[in-house]
């Protein structure tokens, strides 16, 4: 074995060159990570979505870190379980703020976002909604923002489209009696009526209900030509199934929650004609999406649950990157207040999965992609800008 001895000057030069030539990841990983908190349902009935949301964010964190990180720092995702339950959401956010000392965090599910908002406002920690769509979220306070379009974006456009393009005149609105359904149902009613249609039935159902026959018979008696259902993944298929079994053949619309392959399996032919919304571009509009889906299938062994939502989760890490780098350039430490200023100053974010996002006060506007079920597949129906 031969010992190689380098003169000190050569050694220094070699070290400097190695440092310059090393991949950005090496430098990023050697620094203190930037931790992004996300409060999602990781267990419980909504975990099918929540766990995939976190996976989407972790994929983005890995990509960003490998590309040099945020201002040269690696990114870590700290995920806490909410079970989509407001009380557990409060526990999670208290831990983000009190224990983990995070200046910002992501959160979804309308009841949870509403529950944690007062804490964020009081502690001046930035909360960003990444998937809830209750319109009230726009009025939750100075430290609660949304990166996800609220129901007044897609539901208003869907209601108008149903009257003006599909020619529907009499709609029934069936909705889950919680924060997810109540406001969205009102928006559908408002815009459907404004477009010249008539709401002939407006019925709420209990979040734990499994039997909808009475409500559906009442709806059938009102003779609608369109039925809009605003619920969750656990109840929407059951409502549609029981509707079809009672001989109701009306076209059904719902929102992005039903843009899920599981619905097609559960309903089979009964899903034909179903209209769903998507707030993120599909494979036809975004070439980055196909490789992303392939990668997901390779890593998770299945298709993602609620792809459009996951596109948003992925983009949240890129949005955080832009905000942190804005502060880094100005030499300002990241706090809830400074990150809020960064969000408003950057304002326009170019995001790889969902396209351009412009923060307009406490709202964002995006194109709405309508899809319908044809021969057991979701196919594009229209893009409403």
């Amino acid at each position: 074995m031969t010992n190689i001895v380098l003169p000190r000057r050569q050694l220094l030069a070699a070290t400097a060159l190695t440092a310059l030539a090393a991949p950005a990841i090496v430098r990023a990983q050697s620094k203190e990570p930037i931790r992004l908190g996300t409060a999602m349902p990781l267990t419980g009935s909504q975990a099918g979505y929540g766990a995939d949301f976190v996976t989407g964010m972790r994929m983005a964190a890995k990509d960003v870190t490998e590309a040099g990180g945020i201002a040269g720092r690696p990114v870590e995702i700290l995920a806490l379980d909410t079970q989509a339950d407001p009380q557990l959401g409060i526990n999670a956010v208290n831990r983000f703020i009190g224990v983990e000392k995070l200046p910002m965090y992501f959160v979804a599910w309308s009841p949870v976002v509403k529950a944690v908002a007062p804490i964020s406002n009081r502690e001046k920690v930035l909360a960003i909604n990444t998937g809830a769509n209750a319109p009230e979220i726009a009025h939750l306070g100075d430290y609660v923002y949304t990166a996800f379009p609220l129901a007044d974006v897609d539901i208003s456009k869907l209601a108008t489209y149903s009257v003006k393009t599909l020619g529907k005149k009499r709609a029934a609105v069936l909705y889950i009696n919680n924060d997810t359904g109540i406001d969205a149902a009102k928006i559908y009613r408002e815009f459907f009526t404004a477009a010249g249609g008539q709401i002939v039935a407006f019925e709420a159902y209990d979040p734990k209900a499994t039997e909808f026959t009475g409500m559906l018979l009442k709806t059938r008696a009102a003779n609608p030509d369109m039925v809009h259902i605003h619920g969750l993944l656990t109840d929407v298929p059951q409502v549609i199934a029981q509707m079809r079994q009672l001989g109701m053949t009306q076209r059904v619309s719902t929102y992005s929650v039903a843009y899920n392959p599981k619905i097609l399996e559960q309903l089979g032919a009964a899903a034909e004609g179903l209209i769903v919304t998507s707030l993120a571009p599909g494979v036809a509009e975004n070439p980055r999406l196909t490789p992303f889906i392939e990668r997901w299938k390779k890593e998770a062994g299945r298709a993602p649950n609620g792809l459009p939502y996951i596109q948003y989760q992925y983009d949240m890490v890129l949005m955080a990157k832009a905000m942190y780098e804005y502060l880094d350039k100005k030499g300002i430490a990241a706090t809830g207040e400074s990150l809020r200023e960064a969000l408003l100053a950057v304002k326009t974010f170019e995001l790889p999965m969902t396209g351009q996002m412009v923060v307009d006060g406490h709202r964002v506007d995006k194109p709405v992609y309508l899809l319908t079920v044809e021969k057991g597949q979701f196919v594009p129906l229209a893009t409403l800008s």
Binding site: T43, G44, S45, A47, G48, N177, E203, A204, Y205, D206, K208, A209, T210, E211, F212, T213, G214, M215, L217, K218, A221, L233, T234, P237, Q238, A241, R244, Q245, L246, G247, E265, Q266, L267, G268, A269, A270, N305
Partner: protein
């Protein structure tokens, strides 16, 4: 809305949707009658029953009959093991009622936690499709699921009545329920009666979970919510009155279904719980109907 066909449809669907709850309630009330226990471990056994069928059908691709037999096997095994190695031990220690209650609740949570680790928390159905073929009979939509539910409900209750009335083991259950110590003096084994009860309750649980799991999505926590309806039926029917508890479950389901005629859907549960509140307050031992006309329902 007051069209006879609509009323008939509400009645029929209310009856069919009550069927899994009736089966579950009868199993729960029988256990309470014979053992004197509010056995919340039944929620855990319900989860065992459903996920055994789910695994057999969706992971192993076995036929339905085999899946149901496997579920009966695992549920009976879990139930008997709990009886032999849990409840019997507590009885021998002469533990208080609170200990039994906490034991069954914790066992249930434990089983559900293990099931969550294995199967995850996504809503699952026994079959990929939740649609059931429908035929229109006299203007009323009747699905195959409805027929199966009502058939199992009537068949299950009738079989239990036959068993309790005409077999020695069935009569022993009543004797042990009335006074276990006195029954033992007459040579009746209370321990055997407890085990027979566990087996019967398991059969009702499997039937109930088959119906629920083929109609909509279930998560591991669902049985804990479902067992509440068994408690409500048992309270309303009157403790120790097995068939009356089943009838109370039907009554509650029909009240809820027909309330749509004069209430918005979102008030249905409020009405149900309001009704229960009043019923329990005014009839703490259950609503007792005249015995001479309803001797069969009272199960005495």
């Amino acid at each position: 809305m007051y069209d006879p066909i609509i009323l008939a449809q509400i009645f029929w669907t209310g009856l069919a949707s009550a069927s899994p709850h009736v089966l579950m309630t009868v199993g729960f009330a029988l256990t309470l009658k014979v053992t004197g226990l509010w056995n919340f471990a039944q929620a855990g056994f319900m989860a065992v029953a459903f996920y055994t069928m789910y695994m057999a059908l969706n992971w192993l691709g076995l036929p339905i009959a085999v899946a149901v037999l496997l579920a009966i096997g695992t549920t009976v095994a879990a139930s008997l093991a709990t009886e032999a190695y849990g409840l019997q031990v507590l009885r021998e220690r002469q533990s208080g009622n609170l200990t039994f209650f906490i034991f069954t609740l914790i066992l249930s949570e434990f089983l559900i936690y293990v099931i969550t680790l294995i199967f995850g928390t996504e809503p699952q159905t026994l079959f990929k499709s939740i649609l059931s073929p429908v035929q229109i009979i006299g203007g009323v939509a009747v699905s195959d699921w409805d027929m199966l539910g009502v058939g199992l409900m009537i068949g299950g209750m009738f079989a239990l009545w036959l068993f309790m009335t005409f077999t020695r083991d069935g009569q022993f259950l009543t004797a042990v329920a009335d006074n276990a110590k006195l029954a033992e003096l007459y040579g009746i084994s209370a321990r055997r009666s407890y085990r027979v009860t566990a087996v019967i309750a398991s059969l009702f649980i499997v039937a109930s979970m088959y119906l629920i799991g083929s109609h909509g999505g279930i998560v591991p926590n669902t049985p804990l919510e479902l067992v509440l309806s068994a408690v409500l039926g048992t309270l309303l029917g009157g403790i120790g009155r097995v068939f009356a508890a089943g009838a109370a479950s039907i009554f509650l389901a029909l009240i809820q279904s027909f309330s749509i005629l004069f209430l918005a859907s979102r008030w249905q549960n409020l009405l149900l719980y309001g009704f229960l509140f009043v019923a329990i307050l005014l009839f703490p031992r259950g609503v007792r109907l005249p015995k001479f006309r309803f001797a069969l329902l009272a199960g005495r």
